[in-house]
Symmetry: D2
Amino acid sequence: MSIRVGVIGVGVMGADHARTLARSVSGAQVTVVTDYDAARADAVALEVSARTVATATELITAPDVDAVVIASHDSAHAEQVALCLDHRRPVLCEKPLAPTLAECVDLVSREEALALANPLVSVGFMRRFHAPYQAMVQEIRSGSVGAPLLVRASHRNVTSYPGGDSASTVTNSAIHEIDITRWLLGSEIVEVSWHAPKPTSLDTSRHDPQILMLRTADGVLTVVDVFVNARYGYDVRCEVVGETGAVSLAPSHVLTVDSSLRSAATYPEDWRPLFADAYRRQLQAWVDALTAEVPSPLASARDGLRATQVAAALIDSMNNDGATIKVDYH
Amino acid sequence: MSIRVGVIGVGVMGADHARTLARSVSGAQVTVVTDYDAARADAVALEVSARTVATATELITAPDVDAVVIASHDSAHAEQVALCLDHRRPVLCEKPLAPTLAECVDLVSREEALALANPLVSVGFMRRFHAPYQAMVQEIRSGSVGAPLLVRASHRNVTSYPGGDSASTVTNSAIHEIDITRWLLGSEIVEVSWHAPKPTSLDTSRHDPQILMLRTADGVLTVVDVFVNARYGYDVRCEVVGETGAVSLAPSHVLTVDSSLRSAATYPEDWRPLFADAYRRQLQAWVDALTAEVPSPLASARDGLRATQVAAALIDSMNNDGATIKVDYH
Amino acid sequence: MSIRVGVIGVGVMGADHARTLARSVSGAQVTVVTDYDAARADAVALEVSARTVATATELITAPDVDAVVIASHDSAHAEQVALCLDHRRPVLCEKPLAPTLAECVDLVSREEALALANPLVSVGFMRRFHAPYQAMVQEIRSGSVGAPLLVRASHRNVTSYPGGDSASTVTNSAIHEIDITRWLLGSEIVEVSWHAPKPTSLDTSRHDPQILMLRTADGVLTVVDVFVNARYGYDVRCEVVGETGAVSLAPSHVLTVDSSLRSAATYPEDWRPLFADAYRRQLQAWVDALTAEVPSPLASARDGLRATQVAAALIDSMNNDGATIKVDYH
Amino acid sequence: MSIRVGVIGVGVMGADHARTLARSVSGAQVTVVTDYDAARADAVALEVSARTVATATELITAPDVDAVVIASHDSAHAEQVALCLDHRRPVLCEKPLAPTLAECVDLVSREEALALANPLVSVGFMRRFHAPYQAMVQEIRSGSVGAPLLVRASHRNVTSYPGGDSASTVTNSAIHEIDITRWLLGSEIVEVSWHAPKPTSLDTSRHDPQILMLRTADGVLTVVDVFVNARYGYDVRCEVVGETGAVSLAPSHVLTVDSSLRSAATYPEDWRPLFADAYRRQLQAWVDALTAEVPSPLASARDGLRATQVAAALIDSMNNDGATIKVDYH
């Protein structure tokens, strides 16, 4: 039997999830959709042969919903995840788990209080399902580059979203780098600092780019540049330097075009072409675990909390002249 | 409702298809499996929650089979496809459609005699669903490189399969190059010739590598080297040179590993890592068309025939000192 | 003491040679320059602190000329080289040694009749001094890719020179591919054929691109595409495929520029940026041999003849529907 | 007339300079060589047809020496450069100009006190003559990537030299990064900090790798990782990220070798293959300026001082828990 999924929030991300579940995931169907914009909900529901309901609560408690995907506004995540926990609904919540640390702590407490064999909450750190990162972690584990010492990463968007600031660059964009660093190295981030390149004049709402330094418990130092107005393209890079070698993500383009005295590859304008397959594989893995009644292999609520804790420490450093800040995990 | 698929032949290729259908394709399930090796059939059936039957005929006529995948030995294709046509079962037949021209012609005649809105036969030229080739055809159609003039391609395997000869290199390996050339250029191959590099001493069963020249009706010349004992890795390359530019498949590796004075990317040992996603997308497209009751977007029986006709002309050239041979499409 | 060089012909190529000799080669000076265009000769002479003379004969017989560089019009090569031989002047003649086979044969006879320990004539096949080709030949000799079986090469110019035709594409452009193939493989070209891709509509003076097949005595087949109106950039590629691996020239660009959704490298507009260092190293090697009174390590008169013989066979094939032609070395 | 050069110190670096001057530079000859190891001096003198003298003083004051190259032990630089100034000998001193700040300050004072139109001292920051860096600075100046904001660089050696420590990594290796950063950006480094990745266990004499942050007066932040025991190869990388794009050094290998399921390029074991041409071009530029009696285009004594001042600030940060340190230019 198929897992019947309800999707809360069908903006760009949620609509993508709904379509992927309906069209490209084995063993799932989308049965219910909701969105504060009813017309948008109707349109997506029609596309995926689902019905709509008016509220998240209605969706979470619907009899034809086995599991929930939350892709609503960040500010609604905490309440909706809590409701899923109350109703024992498995839920895949888009990152961030919740915008505030207090909310994240509360959700983890509630989840852990239930003491379920198969925890209910998964968080959408889809990079863990990006084949190149998976190959990279395998390569590191194989020992071919020796013990990791240093990670260099870049996270570059074409243009920033309206309404953000320097802190939201960390909580919305860099948060993926935080999670993938913990995951690649298999070690907690214990200390961070924030550093300022010259800011672009093309976005006055924030300091951009930023340099983030993340120290993991194993001693490795990760240096990430995050530039959400890089203009040239959506670009994600990562190199892990070990004692005897280094492993890097290869460029992700599929074609080279030679013309006008240039040999060129194309960058995508946003994350979707690059990570579409990671999203699909994440959803398939989530559905597979639900079907098999085994624990979800996705990022957990605690992973979501950890990322938020590290982001908070980075913002603390940002507000304190780049001071080195210990991450507070209590 | 799911499409219930029966899979005939669960060797490497067929077992992969069965697993992909069961685990990674939306709207499909594998209900019946058969193989001349009953133990192998049992093992795969268990994996995908299907039952087994003893014969292809039983499978094709089973009440719980809506559509058939044929991945049996090449020599069985013609009879099994014919049976599918007789029983009006949509069928995805692995390439080649049939080993002999006469069989292919017969199957196309039978299919066309049925005059169905949605033809029953699809052929597994999965490269048409490989995202880089799809991007390449879009790039060509965009005009960014001008009118195509010349195609250079390479098809390289690590080691040849036992039991083959120079002709089977064409009918089993180069046949993918034949199909993708027609598809990329949107033009029939009308004339071919076969040329001999120095043969490797590591395979005395055939002349290897080979150079194939394919002239399409649009005047474009495609030059392919096929080397089924290339040893260094499984490698597929393609460059289309146009009047104002050129477009090439980018290398497909996802990582770069630096160690021991080398910066290296890994080649796969066979086609599966490279084309796994193309196989999945091909199966999804096939299932989607069946579900929507629209014509299959896969290669047709006539496409299968065309490829076999071109292969026959190449073998004719091989046997006639590399003479230029017109392709006989009658 | 410096080698005093006279330069005959100071168009683009000859002026480059004069400047390189004067500024970047150790142990050489340019003492005399001549050109049919006296103003051009004066300008270059001024640049390199040389004097001018009115005629090639005057230059070759000048008391302050130890050695001669010929970069005059192709049609003047034979007579000027012969004069150098008569006067025992070491000479570096730009390719081709001479435009006709008869002239080349005559020059080789004259040279060989002198039976000098250090032959006088060198021919400017500068690719032999291009570091990547030198690394490639070392790699082949090391055995790392096994015995060579197949070579794939591309020779692409931005636009053709005015006044050429299909034959001159072979004698002026492809001739470099002919020489480098012989040199890389260490084996004579014994058989050739010429093949026609769809011609570009952007140059009606010739058939462009062309495919050339060169069979060397060792059995290796070299397939070269030559496209002198490729438009996209000046591009030279070469891959040698052996029994256990393959070695390719890496792309030669020094920068990658990311902008406007493109990651791009720049192609040069002509051969000069790519081969400037090869020209310098060729001149230095020539001067060094003259200084040390040892045989020139450059291509010899016989190498120049060989290339012209192969070019003639290719033109023969071109005029005979792509027939396979044995190279006549008598 | 040739510039007659005396070379002080003919270890690896000095012998390379002597050979390059003698064999590959126009307008120069090596007339005198000295080394504390007389046998080594004799051997190199023989190679380049020079004579030897017993002491640096003898060389600097020799009547047949127009200009001096200093490639002696770092600790001898200051005294030898001072002697060149006293005797008005143009001198190219290998980096560092001198190991201590006080010595550098003294040499700059002496040089500037002479108030010569053509200052005598040049410092061997040869990367300024590396064609890829020159192309990069042109690309930046062209505006194609917008105003620079951030530089990311890597400096990786195979193994460290014996006898060094964490400070010498900065003064001997990272000093090239310091100079090239100033030169690329055309802006002084005003503030630095030092950061520690996990140290490799393979070199207990120093903390390795290191992260260096260099803030230039223009606000740009440069982040360099220096890893002198990287093992995998000699590797130098640089990316300048601007407001609208980014420009990077392309990989410098000339071949790709496919074998054993790997597509690999080779790293050099040390700097020589990578920078040989930069050294040659630097020497040629130096000789050309001497010949033309114009100011040297090489790094000046003041450039040498600047680099040492920045290095001192970095070591200060290293010794103060990574504190941000203003560079003291007084």
